[in-house]
């Protein structure tokens, strides 16, 4: 059978390819687990049962879902204009730091303070990506490495703050800040309205991207920067705006996590959300609304990591599995462009 490459594929082919890629990755990953001596069907059943089979499990899933939506949306927004913001992890922490500082030092009614804290989180995340954004827009410096390296700086900064200036002396053992005196009202027991905010932001971004001139210009600049420039679109300004928005969204994720879920600033709260967000964005192909199903899938996989600890599987195996999903997605994305040749191709 001969194959031929086609120039364009339809949206449903893309969706089908994504589903097949993820299924193939899980199959290969499962085989490796089986080879390592795990009882894979039991593991899979327990993952499904504990994350989807009870209200308690769904709530846990929701708590992972919400930050993944926002970090995924952050990376997806950047992807639309052709930029890789791999610094979601650092921007998440920067947003968490800004929200913590504001929450611990400013006082007011919750109805006023919560939007203010969200704004602080947005500003923190945007500030964290400012230097890479300027470097990318004005000096053409690759944003992948600059955004990523700042993740390490953010982790060090959070650890410094939590063991130093912000450390709560009342907490003897763990190093964490004092409790932030504001709470986001609950949807269910532990699940808070952060999830609603995340979904609303997806809707807003989807609308901005699909129906506004700004959205059109960013998509055009992502598809062909030179054509966009030639058409009179201020590409440099759009690059800056998109990256700052992207960082800000990741910062809001950090704010919601620290104010709504953890209630204190401490190390490790990002739970790899920043890195997994990049995967969410890739699975979603940079399309805002598609971030929702992609983030849900990642939340299930991440939740599996917690569930499977009872069976001696650590988070690292799950991390390796997500890497496999990414690899298969990348390969599937390319293979989707091949078809069996309609007419016999004459050999050269």
């Amino acid at each position: 059978m001969r194959l031929q490459r086609v120039a364009a594929i339809g949206p449903w082919t893309v969706v089908a390819t994504r589903v097949l890629s993820v299924a193939a990755a899980l199959l290969v990953g499962g085989s490796v687990f089986a080879f390592a001596g795990y009882d894979v069907p039991t593991l899979a059943a327990s993952v499904v049962q504990s994350s989807l089979g009870s209200l308690f499990g769904l709530e846990d899933l929701g708590l992972l879902f919400s930050p993944l939506i926002l970090t995924g949306l952050a990376a997806a927004v950047a992807l639309r204009i052709g930029l890789w913001n791999i610094g979601g992890e650092g921007q998440f922490y920067a947003g968490a730091i800004a929200a913590t500082l504001a929450g611990l030092n400013m006082h007011g009614p919750a109805s006023l303070m919560l939007p203010l804290l969200a704004l602080a989180g947005f500003a923190g995340g945007a500030a964290w990506v400012l230097v890479p954004a300027l470097a990318r827009a004005f000096l053409l410096i690759d944003e992948i490495i600059t955004t990523l390296l700042l993740n390490f700086v953010a982790v060090l900064l959070v650890n410094y703050l939590c063991t130093g200036p912000l450390r709560d002396p009342a907490q003897a053992v763990t190093s964490a800040s004092a409790r932030i005196p504001y709470e986001i009202s609950p949807l269910l027991d532990d699940l808070h309205w952060g999830l609603g905010v995340s979904v609303a932001l997806v809707a807003i971004m989807a609308g901005l991207s699909a129906f506004t001139r700004w959205g059109f210009e960013t998509r055009l600049a992502g598809a062909n920067r030179h054509a966009a420039h030639y058409a009179g679109i201020p590409v440099r300004r759009r690059l800056m705006q998109v990256l700052l928005l992207s960082g800000g969204l990741a910062g809001v994720a950090g704010m919601l996590e620290v104010v709504g879920t953890v209630h204190r600033l401490q190390g490790g709260i990002s739970n790899n959300y920043g890195y997994l967000g990049v995967m969410v964005a890739v699975l979603a192909g940079g399309v805002p609304w598609a971030v929702l199903p992609a983030a849900l899938l990642m939340a299930v996989i991440l939740n599996a990591g917690t569930v499977l600890q009872a069976y001696g599987v650590s988070n690292y195996e799950v991390l390796a599995l997500t890497g496999l999903v990414l690899l298969f997605t990348a390969v599937g994305e390319r293979l989707a462009y091949y078809r069996p040749a309609r007419r016999p191709v004459r050999a050269a």
């Binding site: 490459r5 890789w84 791999i86 230097v131 890479p132 470097a135 000096l139 053409l140 410096i141 690759d142 992948i144 490495i145 600059t146 990523l148 390296l149 700042l150 993740n151 390490f152 700086v153 060090l156 900064l157 650890n159 410094y160 130093g164 890195y275 990049v278 995967m279 890739v282 650590s314 690292y316 195996e317 799950v318 991390l319 390796a320 599995l321 997500t322 890497g323 496999l324 990414l326 690899l327 997605t329 990348a330 390969v331 994305e333 390319r334 293979l335």
Partner: protein, 312 residues
């Protein structure tokens, strides 16, 4: 003062050596036009492989060889995806970083926090090792550093710029269609040098766990793979510049260590940030002074672009 100099220099050679190996590997991959963002994962895989090998009784040299082979094996998977199937290089590189780091940490759980069973021992060179500062910082170190800092970069420079084969492989990175038309086997060269580069990245991981740290713990690579990728850009994709850059970063890292050991009045967290912030500064500052000039022109023209013969 003498002790300070000796300490900084010997740490810089080891810390920078890890970066130099990784950067040299990345130079090879990028020179044939493949952007390998998986270095961080390969460092982790090489590191844990070396630790496991010596824990099972292998000598450090054999451990390092195992690290090279594992790095090359994972590099072959990566190359199969990006060169064979022409998948997106950025995505596959990130996948390699994530999968490699996760796998290494998963496999390495039993070894976490324990010192390496065997390490590369220093060898004092008669005569030279009695020199002040240099004697202890350079000529008493393990022999690996001469390979990393002298033999390997010189060999790669010779290979890239003084041989026909080197010209072919650079042509593959600059203009694969022209190279193809001239009879150069584009796919084969790309595959081969991506695998070779990944082998060097594996060696970097092995050097990290058997000579520099020397032990295994989660997150031990700490972004070194990414710094090595950045170094290659900073070095204008040339092997000799890459090792010079690696030495500079070794010095920055060593400065942080010395500061912590001597209780400088700066919080340790900020000293630990130095390599990352230094890397970003080194990417930005040259570009500020040399906008759109030499340095940018030095990037292989086909870097990151998969080659389809039918698109020529």
């Amino acid at each position: 003062m003498i002790n300070l100099l000796t300490g900084v220099l010997s740490t810089a050679l080891l810390a920078g050596g890890v970066l130099a190996l990784g950067a040299l590997g990345e130079v090879l991959a990028e020179r044939v036009g493949v952007f390998n963002l998986g270095l961080e994962g390969l460092f982790a895989l090489g590191g844990i492989t070396a630790i496991i090998a010596v824990a099972r009784g292998a000598s450090p040299a054999v451990g390092l060889l195992a690290a090279v082979l594992v790095g090359a094996a994972f590099g072959a998977v990566f190359a199969g995806a990006v060169v064979g199937l022409r998948a997106n290089q950025t995505l596959c590189g990130l996948a390699l970083t994530i999968a490699g780091s996760g796998l290494a940490s998963a496999v390495g759980r039993p070894y976490s926090g324990q010192p390496a069973r065997a390490v590369f021992e220093g060898v004092a060179i008669p005569g030279l090792s009695d020199l002040p500062v240099l004697g202890r910082a350079v000529f008493s170190q393990n022999p690996l550093i001469y390979v990393i800092w002298i033999a390997l970069p010189l060999f790669l420079h010779w290979l890239l710029y003084r041989t026909r084969h080197g010209m072919n492989l650079r042509a593959v990175g600059e203009n694969p269609a022209a190279a193809d038309a001239a009879g150069v086997r584009v796919g084969l060269l790309r595959f081969g040098y991506v695998v070779a580069g990944a082998g060097l990245a594996g060696a970097a991981g092995g050097t990290l766990t058997l000579a520099f740290v020397p032990s295994w713990s989660d997150g031990i690579t700490g972004g070194r793979g990414w710094i090595a990728v950045a170094l290659v850009i900073f070095a204008g994709f040339r092997p000799l510049n890459a090792v010079l850059g690696a030495f500079l970063f070794g010095l920055i890292t060593a400065l942080g260590f010395v500061g912590q050991a001597r209780n400088w009045p700066v919080p340790p967290a900020f000293l630990s940030m130095l390599p990352y912030l230094g890397t970003i500064a080194c990417m930005i500052i040259p570009a500020l002074f040399a906008r759109r000039t030499r340095r940018r022109l030095l990037a292989p023209a086909a870097l990151g672009i998969p080659y389809f013969r039918d698109e020529r």
